[in-house]
């Protein structure tokens, strides 16, 4: 039994046969399909339900979920707890009564909680804190929220008790019973308990409809493993098995069904390595065990980003490259130095900045302390529709006038986003308006209990709304093309060019191909266009920070599309850089597909010319390398060289995938043969065959 790789290199075998089997069946939909059998818990028949407040209904829902959600125990599992309700896979609170308005009953995602507290003092410790604050808070709403916290912890105990009972009945799970008798209610005393504690809380959050991230798993678990190894109570192989089961349990929602952007985007993000609050390297055995597990099984459901700096050990770079080489895009990298500069620029202290993790894809945040949301901004549409009036009657005497107008329009759009997505969400006192309750995730976010406010209500230390600019490469390419054609080389007047673009290049195929092929666009290491993109990005960050600090919401910029360019493409008009209306658009801060002709190093150079530390919540680059060129021994040096060069040049975040176009096209035709071909989409991984054709084509278009 083998785990898929698009590479000719075989995956290593280190785990036991039983664990490998468990991984195999999980990857092949066994538990995902099982999860679909029970979509939600019905709250019909709950007395007085209709008269209840939103929070009271939520509390009842949590109780009923804890009491009645199916208990699943997998043969031979080393850790227990399972998110068995299908509604949660859809990001919905999986408990409802007839007549409930469902639209806003969403779970929470885009957050990385902090598991440290539950590891250190257990849920009983958190409950005790909540009881103290129940006395301290005088405001009735705050008291209600804190009571809900106590209630949810009690519900988790009910859920835990059901698992212990079932494990005892099944027999052969003595260790699991022993662990769950201690964690997560008491502090974890060893590695095995720590893993079980994290998993159990993570599973309950998921069970109740949330999609939280894990964050810095090696920081969380490293000391426990070190003590166990030194004390001789655990071997590295045993630790690897336990960690593998954590990863395998994380595959419990894989069902093989088609879902647009692909089936693995539940934001189960993991961050490895980097430095701690004091600036010391945190890399430890857990870091390497995680890479071992992913290398062997190819599980992409916990997308991994590694924090790289100029002191990162060669051994780690080599291991990362070895895993990347096997394909699937499971491992991505942060340039820690640029990220820290970004966060310090936002006002975080040095030590707090160093705790950063990501939120689900790659937007950075301080874990356990941040309510994060982003708002998409379509830079290309803005250029076409607003600045150039759908290629209408526009007059600009020179290029400077054009780019000034564009920046003006961009600035207006940023203001509109601020008004709608910040001011529009605050009440008269400047606090966040109430949304669907989210007590369970709030338990794992600092300061919610202390503030008496849930995560969504802004109980966390920081609230961030980040406009994310998408389509910037398309916009920069367009501005550059107009600059060359109209203002520099004077091939056409502006009005004639507008006319041609309005007609979608009708009768001007020669001209279109000329403009497309003659100039070197973003991604080819051409300063002329790269510096236009860089200026736009730098200025965009300033436009956002004009509004930063005006309210309790931090308002800072980032760059992303997250696949939105697929939905945008059909409505786009012809592109001045030689593309027809509706053609494929750029993703994140990557070149417009098909316009990059000078190799991966050139792409990275173009991307790095902006001061990316100004994009406080992140800017992602997708690099695709042809799989078969990486089968040689040289590939590890090449991959780690690309990563190191990326860090030296000031990149922010980079995801590398190594599948080749032909394999993807084959997989489209014969999906059954490629069930576990995983690809990096845009901050998450997905099994290619579960993506709709549109999304598949988008991935193919951006692959050589």
């Amino acid at each position: 039994m083998e785990f898929y790789t698009s590479s000719k290199i075989k995956r290593p075998v280190r785990l036991s046969e039983a664990t490998r089997l468990f991984a195999h069946e999980s990857l092949n939909h066994k538990y995902g399909l099982d999860t679909l059998k029970t979509e939600y818990i019905s709250l019909d028949g709950v007395e007085n339900y209709d008269a209840m407040s939103a929070l009271e209904k939520y509390n009842v829902g949590i109780l009923e979920i804890a009491k009645r959600a199916p208990v699943r125990i997998c043969d031979g599992e080393l850790i227990s707890g399972a998110a068995t309700l299908g509604g949660a896979v859809e990001h919905v609170f999986p408990a409802k009564a007839e007549g409930d308005v469902r639209d806003y009953a969403t779970g929470v995602s885009h957050l990385t909680v902090d598991f440290r507290e539950v590891l250190e003092i257990g849920l009983d410790g958190i409950r005790k804190k909540a009881e103290e604050y129940l006395e301290i808070h005088k405001n009735p709403e705050k008291k209600e929220f804190v009571s809900s916290c106590i209630h949810c912890i009690d519900c988790m105990k009910i859920w835990r008790d059901r698992y212990i009972a079932e494990l005892k009945i099944r027999g052969g799970f003595d260790k699991n019973v022993k662990n769950l008798s201690r964690v997560p209610f008491h502090s974890a005393e060893n590695f095995y308990e720590a893993v079980q504690s994290i998993w159990f809380c993570f599973a309950f959050m998921r069970l109740t409809g949330n999609w939280p991230g894990i964050g810095r798993i090696d920081v969380l678990l490293g000391d426990y493993l070190k003590r166990d190894l030194e004390g001789g109570t655990l071997t590295l192989d045993e630790a690897r098995e336990i960690l593998a089961h954590f990863f395998i349990k994380g595959c419990e929602w894989i069902n093989g069904m088609e879902t647009g952007g692909g089936d693995a985007q539940h934001y189960q993000n993991i961050v490895l390595s980097g430095t701690d609050e004091e600036g010391h390297d945190v890399t430890n055995e857990v870091t390497y065990l995680v890479l071992d597990v992913v290398e062997e099984t190819g599980i992409g459901d916990f997308p991994i980003t590694v924090r790289i700096n100029s002191n990162t050990d060669e051994r780690l770079l080599t291991r990362i490259s070895e895993v990347i080489r096997l394909g699937g895009g499971v491992v991505a990298v942060y340039n820690e130095e640029v990220v820290l500069r970004a966060l310090r620029g936002m006002g975080y202290s040095e030590s707090e900045a160093r705790t950063f993790a990501n939120d689900g894809c790659w937007e950075v945040q301080i874990p356990g302390r941040t309510k994060f949301g982003y708002v998409p901004l379509d830079a290309f549409r803005l250029l076409q529709h607003v600045t150039l009036r759908d290629y209408g009657d526009v007059g600009f005497p020179d290029f400077d006038a054009l780019i000034s107008k564009y920046e003006c329009d961009l600035s207006q759009e940023v203001k509109r986003i601020f008004d709608e997505s910040v001011l529009g969400t605050l009440d008269e006192s400047g606090n966040l308006k109430k949304e669907f309750p989210c007590t369970v995730v709030s338990l794992f976010e600092h300061s919610c209990i202390e503030n008496g406010l849930s995560y969504k209500e802004g109980g966390t230390d920081y609230v961030v709304v980040s406009p994310h600019i998408g389509g910037l490469p398309d916009a920069a390419n367009s501005l550059y093309a107009i600059k060359k054609v109209v203002f520099d080389e004077k091939l056409l007047s502006l009005s004639r060019f507008m006319e041609i673009l309005r007609s979608n290049w009708k009768g001007e195929e020669d001209l279109r191909l000329q403009i497309l092929n003659e100039y070197r666009y973003f991604g080819n290491d051409n300063d002329e266009v790269d510096l236009i993109a860089a200026k736009l990005l730098d200025d965009f960050s300033g436009m956002c920070e004009r509004f930063d600090g005006k309210t309790k919401v931090r308002f800072v910029s980032g760059v992303s599309t997250f696949g939105r360019q697929l939905a945008w493409a059909p409505s786009r008009l012809a592109a001045p850089f030689g593309r027809k209306a509706g053609e494929v658009l750029s993703g994140n801060l990557s070149p417009t597909p098909g316009t990059d002709k000078a190799g991966a190093a050139a792409i990275i150079k173009s991307y790095c010319k902006a001061d990316l530390s100004k994009q406080r919540t992140g800017a992602a680059l997708d690099v695709g390398l042809i799989g078969n060129s990486l089968d040689a021994e040289n590939s590890v040096a090449a991959l780690s060289g690309l990563i190191k060069g990326f860090v030296r040049l000031g990149g922010f975040f980079m995801q590398i995938d190594t599948v080749d176009r032909n394999t993807l096209i084959e997989a489209q035709k014969n999906p059954l043969d490629y069930q576990n071909l995983s690809v990096r989409v845009s901050g998450w991984n997905a099994r290619f065959v579960t993506m709709s054709k549109e999304w598949q084509d988008m991935i193919i278009d951006r692959t050589k």
Partner: protein, 262 residues
Amino acid sequence: MKAAIFDIQRSSYVDGPGIRTTVFFKGCNLKCKWCHSPESQSTEKEILFYKDKCRGCGRCESITDDFVCYSGAKEICGREYDTDELVADILADKVFYDASGGGVTFSGGECMLQIDALESILKKCKEHGIHTAVDTAGGVEWEDFERILPFTDLFLYDLKCFSESLHIDGTGVSNRLILENLKALSDARGCEIIIRIPVIPGFNTERAEMAKMASFLKGIRHKSIELLPYHKMGKSKYDALGREFTEYEIPVIDDDLKRMFN
């Protein structure tokens, strides 16, 4: 100084260690029947015409030196580069060479045929601290090797076969000089050597012939031996040049063969 070049590839991972830029010189003194770069053989500029990409726009009725066909149907292959221009292009990815143990590789065609330009560029690359590799079939005078040896870190040395008559049959020239040069290079030290052997079924895949090559190579200082399987990816270029394509079978490189050269 000028050099006749037909391609420059950035971010190559297959022409030596690390991330490299490969510069392809035009012109070759071998005419291997299985060559997958037919456009590399002549020193002259050539036109490649890909019929199915042609839109019939007629722009190419009058072609000047800097003509560009926007459909990608007609390609003028081969252009003169100033050596300083080349060095500037090579320097563009220096950050990545340093980060990966990579550098520049000079290939072709036979880059050593333009020895003056090659020596000049190699010297300048070394001045900039760039790792240099020369991919050669070795069929030139030993004096040419001596000239570039001080500026070349690695030779990718291509060996087609051992037997002279077979070599003449397959490439048009004797391999006497090629084998002598390789021996001299091995003795000279001051550079690394990687041997590259194209595996061409029906030409050099008889075990006896392979054994003779393996035996010869036992006496040659080398870092590694790469067996490169024949492929047909050059066929479209033959069609585009209006030349006949000689087809061979795709080989299977089995463990026995690999072991011979280890």
